[in-house]
């Protein structure tokens, strides 16, 4: 167990996204649930990080707070050097639009749009006329989606749908891509494809990916794994393997 990398450390790497003493409380009074307790974490640019923990440990909540999808109770979130805490809905939305990409577990695509339209949807929303064509082609070819562009989501397999979602997340060259259990609904072969691609996008395309998962195999694709338990950061691991991750999880659940 190594020392955790702090956002305020002297490390000269740039942080794509970082949180400091993040607290998230759902509800108020007797029924309130504290999902995150003083979580501090940072993700370096050009890395692939997995967030792991038992169910209900606050993984999704942390991701939502980091991605500007949800407000935090206290603490601070920096996206690059932009403080998210205190931003209004409109600013958060524009920030997500320009600097964040998403891959969710399910329901990633609009059923009414073709794969190609889904991929360029973020650009469309931003009112930008088309992507940098070279980048677009590179993303599409890397994901092997070239011959699927005209299809509707209902005509694609689950793995293909998730690959389209990945392409969409990357099309704007965001500062960071958040993926919440992106392989949760996939068989192992499709999972492997999607995860390989995420790793490729980090190592070959220079993107930053933060992935929430509870699957040790998925986590093993990452450069680094951050563990959560009961809303707290407990541990982290670099160069994970399936065995090491499973072991760490066992300790966590004890």
């Amino acid at each position: 167990m190594s020392v955790t990398a702090r956002p305020d450390s002297q490390d000269m790497r740039t942080w794509a996204v970082s949180a400091r003493e993040l607290v998230k409380v759902y509800g108020a009074g007797e029924t309130s649930v504290t999902a995150l307790r003083q979580v501090s974490v940072a993700f370096a640019s050009g890395t692939f990080t997995a967030i792991m923990g038992p169910s209900g440990s606050g993984k999704s909540t942390l991701m939502h707070c980091l991605a500007g999808l949800d407000t935090v109770t206290s603490g601070s979130v920096l996206l690059g050097d932009t403080e998210l805490v205190g931003l209004g809905d409109k600013q958060m939305t524009l920030l997500r639009r320009q600097r964040v990409g998403f891959v969710f577990q399910a329901f990633n695509l609009l059923p009414t749009l073709t794969a190609a339209q889904n991929i360029t949807l973020p650009l469309d929303i931003a009112g930008r006329r088309g992507a940098d064509p070279a980048w677009r082609d590179r993303v599409i070819d890397t994901l092997g989606l070239r011959d699927r562009l005209g299809h509707l989501p209902s005509e694609l397999s689950g793995g293909q749908q998730q690959r389209v979602a990945c392409a969409r997340a990357l099309i704007t060259r965001p500062d960071v891509v958040f993926a919440d259990e992106p392989t949760g609904n996939l068989d192992s072969r499709s999972s492997g494809e999607v995860l390989s691609f995420l790793r490729m996008s980090v190592h070959e395309l220079g993107q930053t990916v933060v992935m929430v998962t509870h699957d040790a195999a998925a986590a093993s694709y990452a450069d680094r794994v951050v563990f959560l338990r009961d809303g707290r950061r407990t541990d982290e691991m670099t160069e994970p393997t399936v065995e090491r991750v499973l072991e760490a999880l066992k300790t966590l659940e004890r």
Binding site: H64, A67, L69, R96, L110, T112, L121, I125
Partner: protein, 905 residues
């Protein structure tokens, strides 16, 4: 099962609430109609029973014939009758000097105990030569007790100064109350004897009987009936008033009219609510399938759905009835506050007003649920395990076949109706064809409306960016839903457009026909040709008139036929009209004659007409419309009496061509074919100075009437008929003048003189006012149907928003702002509204034109027109309403938190 129904109702109440507003509105309309007309009726009953006073029974003769005196004596002898009198009503006039005012003269028995009319001052007339006068007429005319008023004898409704006038002395002032029969003009009450001296033609006659003490009216009427018997009708006073209210047909007409519009509103509400049930069914597929899994039968599913709709229909109808009552009272109160004398009285709620709307609302709601309920029974239990809802059935074969059949027969019916000569059968064919075509369009909707939405959406998408493109796709992702939503709007907009197009076309037709005949803005004409020069100056002084042309003339007789001579100043005339080039191009020595005259005289252009001297100088029957003679097709309204003068062949004809022939005698008789020196006609222009009475005919003026008129220049007129008088003043209004105001000013200037004021501007102003009012009322009534359709749009949108919660969340996560999300929904609503109203405007225009053409026939020369402004306004309002309808659903969608929406199932 009932508990499941109720639980499901509770669970979906929010989603049903909005659509039930459609039922509320429609039933409110029905209930309001009943309350409104009941209140009108009760007020009219009060007014109509006023003049019966204390009378308990009334005897009338069939067909409003006069009442013989022996009936009166017989009634007087009936036991229990303490007083009976004969009442006759005559529509006459009051004359003061040269002024005539309409008057109603009623016979009132001297010692009447009926108690009507109320004597305000003085006493009732007790002998011939006396009269009572309505107090308001007395006030208007400054007449008091002791003064005399004049009544023209045997008045027939035509101003006639020659007729003898009877002088009557006013002995009392009375208040006849508010009965409509006495509300126009002055009220006079005279003895029966006096009335019969004034006229032989009473309009209504009856015998009124007042009963002694406690004798109930029904018993009184029965006793009288036993005595007078057939053919006389005996009614109690109440029955009589009811009869009079009904025979006017006013309330029945208003009820029928309002109910027709209420029916349209119900139809639209039916579409909206059926659509709601269908959408809810899709959203509840899993729930239904789960019920089937646990053993609920198809029948139970069906009944449960119907029970749900019944509960909803009942609740909504009850709310609707209450709303309707409130609205009817509100509208009634507003109308009676605005228009004095609008009949609107207090009314006890009738059972009809409650039961009918509730029953109808219930029936429509359950009816709308039938098809969705049947679809619900088809959901297989395994659907509970599937991820997707039931696959939406593609438009059924039966539906397309029906649509095609309806469209084909409908279009054929309209074609036949339009081409057939004017005739009720033609209109019925066109009407049935129109209804069928419309039904066909509604049935074909799923094939028609989505492509239209896509088309409009593609255009809009280019302008509105991502929200526009997303909306265009969303609007048609469920074709049935989009179709039903747009169709609901289509109904109202189509009907509104029919009305608008009908009004515009009628207006255009009137304008065109007037332009074709004698297109002058304002025409002041005198049948007797005696417009005083002072009046001409008065008219000249009216602001807003740019040009004045004076027509002078006289009459003469040619070959025994009376013809009118009309002298114009071509320059002046050209300034007031651009449509009469032939008359405006006249030069001295030339004349234009009307077609009928040309035909009888067998004159063609180039011939010479020799005009005889005036028959009676200074009097020109021919110029100006004769009294009662409204031959408007006649330029200068010179309706020369058609004398029936039949010319034999060759009589008075002699077409000789060749210059230099300047002959022609002036004795006005002609005979013999080829007679070179025919009277009246020859050729060549007289060169004998003042003696020459020959004028070259330059043109024949086409007219539809029988007018025999010769148009010539003032110079020739003065030379030939020095005594000619002013018969008409034509005026042209400035381009943007207030036509109604000018018309009123001319009316003021001409009151008291025996002239008629007509003209295109005047007629147009009158017509457009009438049509505008009518259009406004109809549009207001149809607005309810459109409002319901807008509720439907809001409803569809709300339900779709509910369905697309996760989709919206995804879009928000990807960076769609709240504003953009709202815009997406707004554009979706606007698209549906735009397509519904565009299609409606198109169909309405077609139906309006076909309807008018078939109604008036192809030979009528109807000019089809649209008010583009009106239609554009209609579409704009519909689109705006659609935008408004999106506000609430859009707010809900935008407010949802992204995170929780992403998590929602």
């Amino acid at each position: 099962m009932l508990s499941i129904t109720l639980a499901s109702l509770r669970a979906h109440l929010g989603r049903l609430l909005l659509s039930s507003a459609a039922i509320v509105l429609a039933t409110a309309f029905v209930a309001g109609t009943f309350v409104f007309t009941d209140a009108m009726r009760s007020s009219l009953l009060g007014a109509f029973s006023q003049d019966l006073g204390r009378a308990g029974a009334v005897v009338t003769a069939p067909g409003d014939r006069d009442m013989p005196g022996d009936v009166l004596s017989a009634v007087r002898r009936v036991p229990g009758v303490v007083h009976a009198e004969r009442r006759a009503v005559w529509d006459a006039a009051l004359r003061s000097g040269d002024r005539f005012e309409p008057a109603t003269i009623v016979s009132i028995a001297p010692g009447s105990t009926v108690g009507w009319p109320k004597v305000v001052q003085g006493r009732l007339a007790s002998r011939p030569g006396e009269t009572v006068l309505g107090h308001d007429a007395a006030q208007r005319g400054g007449v008091g007790i002791g003064d005399t008023v004049g009544v023209p004898l045997h008045w027939e409704g035509v101003v006639d100064r020659e007729r003898e006038t009877r002088k009557l002395r006013v002995v009392g002032l009375v208040d006849p109350g508010s009965a409509p029969r006495y509300s126009s003009g002055a009220f006079l009450g005279v003895t029966d004897e006096q009335l019969r001296e004034l006229t032989d033609e009473v309009k209504v006659a009856s015998v009124l009987a007042v009963a002694a003490g406690e004798l109930p009216p029904a018993e009184l009427a029965a006793r009288i009936d036993r005595v007078v018997g057939r053919p006389y009708v005996v009614r109690t006073a109440e029955e009589q008033a009811q009869q009079e209210v009904s025979s006017g047909g006013l309330t029945a007409g208003v009820t029928a009219g309002l109910l027709a519009f209420a029916g349209i509103a119900l139809f639209v509400a039916g579409i909206v609510i059926a659509n709601t049930f269908s959408i809810l069914l899709v959203q509840r597929t899993r729930e239904m399938a789960l019920l089937r899994c646990v053993g609920v039968t198809r029948g139970q599913v069906f009944r449960s759905m119907l029970a749900e709709s019944a509960a909803l229909g009942l609740a909504a109808s009850v709310v609707g009835v209450l709303t309707g009552f409130g609205l009817a009272y509100g509208v009634g109160a507003a109308l009676s506050a605005t228009f004095e004398g609008f009949p609107f009285g207090a009314v006890a709620l009738s059972a009809t007003a409650v039961v009918v709307p509730v029953a109808v609302g219930l029936a429509v709601t359950i009816g709308a649920a039938l098809l969705p309920a049947r679809a619900a029974t088809r959901i297989p239990p395994v659907a509970a395990l599937r991820d997707q809802g039931i696959p939406t059935r593609r438009g059924g074969r039966t539906r397309s076949v029906l649509a095609m059949a309806a469209l084909l027969t409908g279009v054929a019916g309209m074609a036949v109706g339009t081409l057939v000569r004017t005739d009720t059968a033609g209109f019925i064919a066109a009407f049935a064809g129109g209804v069928l075509t419309f039904l066909g369009i509604l049935l074909a909707g799923p094939a028609l409306i989505p492509p239209l939405v896509r088309l409009v959406g593609a255009t809009l998408g280019r302008w509105l960016g991502a929200p526009g493109r997303l909306a265009a796709v969303n609007a048609v992702r469920n074709p049935r839903r989009a179709t039903a939503t747009a169709s609901a709007l289509l109904v109202g907009v189509t009907l509104m457009t029919i009305m608008s197009v009908g009004a515009a076309s009628l207006q255009a037709t009137v304008t065109a026909q007037m332009d074709e005949e004698f297109p002058v803005d304002f025409m002041v004409r005198s049948g007797e040709g005696n417009i005083p020069p002072a009046l001409v100056e008065d008219i000249r002084g009216i602001p807003g008139l740019s040009d004045i042309a004076i027509v002078r003339g006289t009459t003469t007789s040619l070959n025994g036929q009376k013809i009118a001579i009309s002298g114009v100043d071509p320059h002046q005339l050209a300034a007031v009209t651009s449509q009469l080039p032939s008359i405006c191009g006249l030069r001295p020595g030339q004349a234009v004659i009307t077609q009928p005259l040309a035909r009888t005289l067998r004159i063609t252009p180039g011939d010479t007409l020799h005009l005889p001297p005036a028959t009676h100088t200074g009097h020109q029957d021919g110029t100006g419309s004769g009294k009662g003679d409204q031959d408007s097709s006649d330029p200068a309204t010179a309706t020369a009496p058609s004398t029936g003068n039949q010319h034999g062949p060759g009589n008075a004809t002699g077409n000789q061509h060749g210059p230099g022939n300047a002959t022609g005698n002036q004795d006005g008789t002609g005979n013999g074919e080829g007679d070179r020196e025919t009277t009246g006609i020859g050729n060549g222009i007289g060169d004998g100075g003042g003696q020459a009475r020959g004028l070259t005919i330059t043109s024949i003026f086409p007219t539809k009437g029988s007018a025999a008129v010769v148009y010539l220049t003032h110079q020739d007129l003065d030379r030939l008929y020095p005594d000619a008088t002013i018969g008409g003043v034509y005026a042209q209004a400035e381009p943007d003048a207030d036509l109604l105001a000018i018309g009123a000013a001319i009316d003021r200037a001409t009151t008291g003189s025996s002239v008629t004021v007509t003209g295109t501007a005047k007629t147009q102003a009158t017509y457009s006012e009438l049509l505008d009012t009518l259009l406004l009322v109809v549009t207001a009534l149809l607005a309810v149907a459109v409002l319901i359709a807008v509720v439907g749009i809001a409803n569809t949108l709300a339900l779709s928003v509910h369905e697309r919660t996760r989709e919206s969340a995804l879009l928000r996560a990807l960076g769609l702002t709240r504003g953009q999300l709202r815009a997406t929904l707004a554009v979706e609503a606007a698209l549906l509204a735009a397509v519904g109203s565009l299609l409606g405007a198109g169909l309405g225009t077609l139906f309006g034109w076909v309807g008018l053409t078939s109604m008036l026939g192809p030979s009528f020369g109807i000019v089809l027109d649209v008010s583009a402004l009106h239609l554009a306004g209609l579409i704009a309002v519909a689109v705006l309403a659609g935008l408004l309808a999106s506000v609430l659903p859009a707010r809900r969608a935008a407010r949802a938190s992204v995170v929780s929406a992403l998590a929602s199932e």
